[in-house]
Symmetry: C2
Subunit: 318 residues, 2 copies
């Protein structure tokens, strides 16, 4: 699976309860490998922060703030309030104390020379997410957003646009800086090649799944497999988050159909849309409709099961 | 004033209430410059920690944990418990969340190229300690302690000896590593030269005041001034802390007289001892006795006043 943050992490909980119950093609519990987006990564206060990897790790490891969907449960904010008291900028990033410890461990290991993939594996030794989590690349890729307002046209970090401006500043372009020179982290291409099928959860198709696919080599490896995606758009709105602002920036309509067309038939084999979008047709892609709101664990598991079933069916047919 | 941590910071509160009330030699409120010990500094989890500078800053700035004497008031410990959950070592250092923010700011400024003296000044912009606080040096000096136990003879960081072992492992030597190549931070020698007099608070004479004096140039500059010290030893025990363990390591008896002799008459002009040590005589040093327990603000102020009065008297006589 390719995964962004909240949507990917929640979908993974459903997928684990489907696949963990012995529905792998060989009858045993299959391994789930998650290729995580790192385009949202940011270095703040000298700390390397990987929001999407952490959201997956915390969600599957039982440490997530459930209401919020990101950050740690039972969090405190002493570090943040003290940094503000020192006048440190930026102050718009929600940095919790428990979360800070994760970033300290990561930053220390990175400066000791370990690649991000090894660091992620070490952090997962504690969290035991029950999946193999690999960052898309060990190299630095940072999504920047070109905005234009009273202060003029400029590129700002994705997090500044997303968190500080809540994606309300119109984006003229979304640039995954450094992606064209990045290489997939060790194990990424091997995992895709060895996979029975690849799933796209209802993560942001531009800044999450799109960024992962932009790492040279990953799109081609994925395209060679049976791929089923779950639409992050229901009706004409994102299920959650502000994916519409990202789609507008790249000139794609906010609809389940347009997102499938954007991924393209050379990549996607199957596409799950919500019943609200029943009747959606995309040339070359097998579209099925069902309820897509991940409203509780049972609903999420049913969506994951539908994605797995469709993937197995399409793989059988291929 | 040369200062270590808790003893120096508490004495400074008394000194501020004496000198802040207009008793400077020119009739106006004089400036107090504090040369802080940095030999206790340690880098943990990638964070540069300066325990003595922070104790002075927090104590005078109103942020100290009063009962403990170090660390922040109303502290939380989320980062520490999370680092432990990740299995990070060491776990014996009492790293609070509020305190972590200070270390993050310091570490960021240092890695941006600012010297520790400039960083300390920036941190004091927030705390407004009412004194000018300068680290003894901008270079790295780290006090190591040679110990010998079942694990063999080895040098450990002062903090490991002090905090983890509570100075209970006999010290064979105390080594301020790097001090011989260190240079005083900008402003240190100038402040000493411009001073009306120099005070040694009841800080540890070995690992606090002793380390500052070991920075080449500082001892000579201090020796040229009128110097009055306050004994950190009352009877045959340290007022607080474990100075006796440090004195033993350098072969000095734990007594007010022995500490004065260790500083030496070429450095010290006056020496305040507790009434319990009345009658102490040291060749070439004017010894006075009075109550030396800093039991409350009034008692501390009275001790500071006695030190200032003795310094002014000796300076007059010189």
């Amino acid at each position: 699976m390719l995964a962004g943050g909240i949507g990917g992490a929640r979908f993974l909980r459903g997928l684990k309860s489907v696949l963990g119950s012995g529905e792998g093609t060989d009858g045993s519990d299959p391994e789930i490998t998650v290729i995580g987006n790192t385009g949202d990564d940011i270095t703040l206060f000298g700390l390397k922060i990987c929001p999407d990897l952490d959201t997956v790790m915390y969600t599957l490891g039982g440490g997530i703030n459930e209401e919020q969907g990101w950050g740690r449960a039972e969090e405190t904010f002493s570090v943040r309030s003290e940094l503000a008291a020192y006048g440190m900028q930026p102050q718009w990033f929600g940095l919790g104390d428990r979360d800070v410890a994760t970033h300290i461990v990561r930053t220390q290991m990175l400066s000791a020379g370990y690649p991000l993939s090894a660091v992620t594996e070490a952090l997962c030794d504690r969290w035991r997410p029950g999946v193999r989590l690999i960052p898309m690349t060990d190299e630095r890729v940072e999504t920047h957003v070109v905005v234009c307002d009273d202060e003029g046209r400029r590129a700002i970090h994705f997090q500044e646009w997303w968190v500080r401006h809540r994606a309300a500043l119109p984006a003229e372009a979304i640039l995954p800086v450094g992606v064209e020179k990045a290489t997939p982290a060790p194990g990424v291409l091997e995992a895709i090649e060895a996979a029975d099928f690849v799933l796209f959860p209802p993560s942001n198709p531009v800044v999450s799944v799109g960024t992962i696919l932009a790492v040279p080599g990953i799109r081609d490896a994925v395209a060679a497999k049976t791929v089923v995606g779950v639409s992050p758009i229901i009706g004409d709105a994102p299920v959650r988050g502000m994916a519409d602002a990202c789609l507008s920036a790249i000139g794609v309509e906010t609809s389940a159909r347009a997102v499938a067309e954007h991924y393209g038939a050379e990549l996607l084999d199957g596409w799950l849309v919500d019943d609200a979008d029943a009747g959606t047709r995309v040339e070359g892609i097998d579209v099925r409709s069902r309820p897509l709101y991940m409203s509780d664990p049972a609903a999420t598991e049913a969506i994951a099961r539908a994605a797995v079933d469709l993937a197995l069916e399409l793989k059988e047919r291929a």
